[in-house]
Symmetry: C2
Subunit: 331 residues, 2 copies
């Protein structure tokens, strides 16, 4: 608890060499004999010496840590991405500062100041706010974005949301739906706009006329989504035979509203969600949804960031990851 930590000069004294040599041995920079290496490493292991990263960072401007800014770490979807990022960077000695922004610009700014002060080598920014257009100026270091409009940034990793929207809508059409209600996150973040695009394209391809009144805005919130659908059912003025919700939380809200009004799913009404969170798998009936490869998202983003941190100029890179339809009980 209190014994002072051992430093390079201690090791140097014991090995009877200079700190320069210790440093060269530890960093495998050559200019030392095999015998010296052996002697040094033995002492290093014997005392469990760990280099002081603050000193190293001060000297080299590399901190071996990165920041990940995430809208909500309690959300399984983001948790999976964070985990995958961590798995990818850990073997290279990197640690990650996780910064939950709560989608609040003030908190986000605080987090960013903190980690900039701490000399992070780079940042992975997972978009969750609508207004991230000018976030870039906050950083004077490599950043990789997840789920951000590619036109606004150079290094972006994202799912093929448009194709996902298409797949979801197509599945509903193939199941016989002709009037598909689109339950949409009203913040209209970039991924949602893309999913909407896919919804339109599917209508086009199958020659099904679109109807503005079938497009309903709600929030990611379960409750509001449920109540929105409930209200529509009670008013009885809008006819629809399928629902595409732009995420699973809202899909679940819709499902429960339908069940409360004794609309049988999937017999009378089909439903498709998006994201594939475990809720959609474990509810009853399990919800057909579009699966995003969170593992790959984290891994690709992390690898791209590491490459940018290590190696000079990496060409602008926009990584689009495939999604797939996960057919379950609601279609």
């Amino acid at each position: 608890m209190s014994e002072k930590k051992i430093s390079m000069v201690d090791i140097a004294r014991m090995a009877e060499v200079s700190t320069a040599t210790i440093s060269r041995v530890l960093n495998k920079n050559g200019r030392y004999s095999p015998e010296t290496e052996k002697r040094v490493m033995e002492i290093v292991h014997k005392y469990g010496y760990l280099p002081n990263l603050s000193a190293k960072t001060l000297r080299t401007n590399k901190s071996l840590s990165i920041g990940v800014i995430v809208p909500d770490i309690t959300n399984e979807f983001f948790g999976k991405i964070v985990r995958s990022i961590e798995n990818t960077v850990l073997p290279f000695g990197y640690s990650v500062f996780v910064c939950d922004s709560h989608e609040d610009e003030k908190i986000e700014t605080l987090h960013i100041q903190n980690i900039v002060s701490k000399n992070v080598d780079g940042v992975i920014y997972i978009a969750g706010r609508a207004d991230v257009g000018d976030i870039d100026q906050n950083f004077s270091m490599p950043v990789v974005y997840i789920d951000r409009q590619a036109e606004h940034a150079q290094f972006v990793v994202q799912s093929d949301n448009e194709y996902g929207g298409f797949l979801a809508t197509e599945q509903l059409i193939r199941s016989g739906c002709r009037r598909i209600l689109l339950l949409r996150d009203r913040r209209m973040l970039f991924p949602v706009r893309q999913r909407y695009e896919g919804y339109c394209k599917a209508h086009e391809k199958y020659g099904i006329p679109m109807d503005e009144s079938l497009i309903v805005d709600s929030t990611v919130d379960y409750t509001l989504a449920r109540d929105t659908i409930s209200m529509i059912l009670e008013e009885e003025s809008l006819f629809f035979d399928g629902v595409f919700a732009t995420n699973d939380m809202m899909a679940l809200g819709a499902l429960h509203a339908l069940q409360k009004h004794h609309v049988r799913v999937p017999e009378q009404m089909k439903l498709v969600g998006f994201d594939d969170i475990s809720l959609s798998e474990f509810c009853n009936p399990p919800i057909t949804t579009i699966t995003q490869d969170t593992e790959a998202m984290g891994q690709r983003a992390a690898r791209l960031l590491l490459k940018r941190i290590q190696g000079g100029s990496v060409p602008s890179n926009n990584i689009m990851l495939p999604v797939f339809l996960n057919k379950r009980g609601t279609t």
Copy 2:
């Protein structure tokens, strides 16, 4: 992207004072006039100067960062604790290294070496492995544990798992159950042992005889829990009229097994879970469960750690947080 970061000497030059004065102004350590302060702060703000934490850490041995070791960040329960920890420490300028150990000792050790090298000021360790008995020697810094056996550590935050187990069992008894199957995580981590204690105490209090064959071991895994219950139902040799699962994931597995075998819940069979993850709320019927106050767990652990980091000797402290019964559709 490339302009060098501004340092204290730059500020000092511009304000025409020494770095010592800048330092004193920034740390509000006295020994400077109001005029000097104003002049310095104007320049600091004008250039958006942020101190270099690596240098500061090297000199002062305080890094303003802590590590949180967590068994699985994709699990909503742990995500909530992490978020609460972050919220608590952010106003004090701290950032948190989140380390997902995957309950794997090797990975955990790697993480710990990394963050020790990075001079974290303290660690919050959320137990998830069975064998954390001798983890302490890895740290030469303040640690606060969550969900660890209090006899093994000085600073522990935990829910009142025993009372939770009691409440769950009592609820089943009051709903008329007399033969309550205990579906238990076979790793028998400390919290699970406590919940089991509560299960026993409730039987005792209500004078209901316990039956060893009603205690069934499974894993946290949804699938195995489901298949375990399925098998028992198929064998038809064991009679029971209620299930207490030591966590919600297993409770959900049990629920689906029961439904598959056309056992009506809650009419023919009652069910109670533990943790209150959103899955238990949004399945059908929603599962009665024991709610843990994750918000408080994170907050109390973080506050305790900060106190230990800042102030000399904090008396040994074992914080026990209340739980409550969340009655829903399965009882």
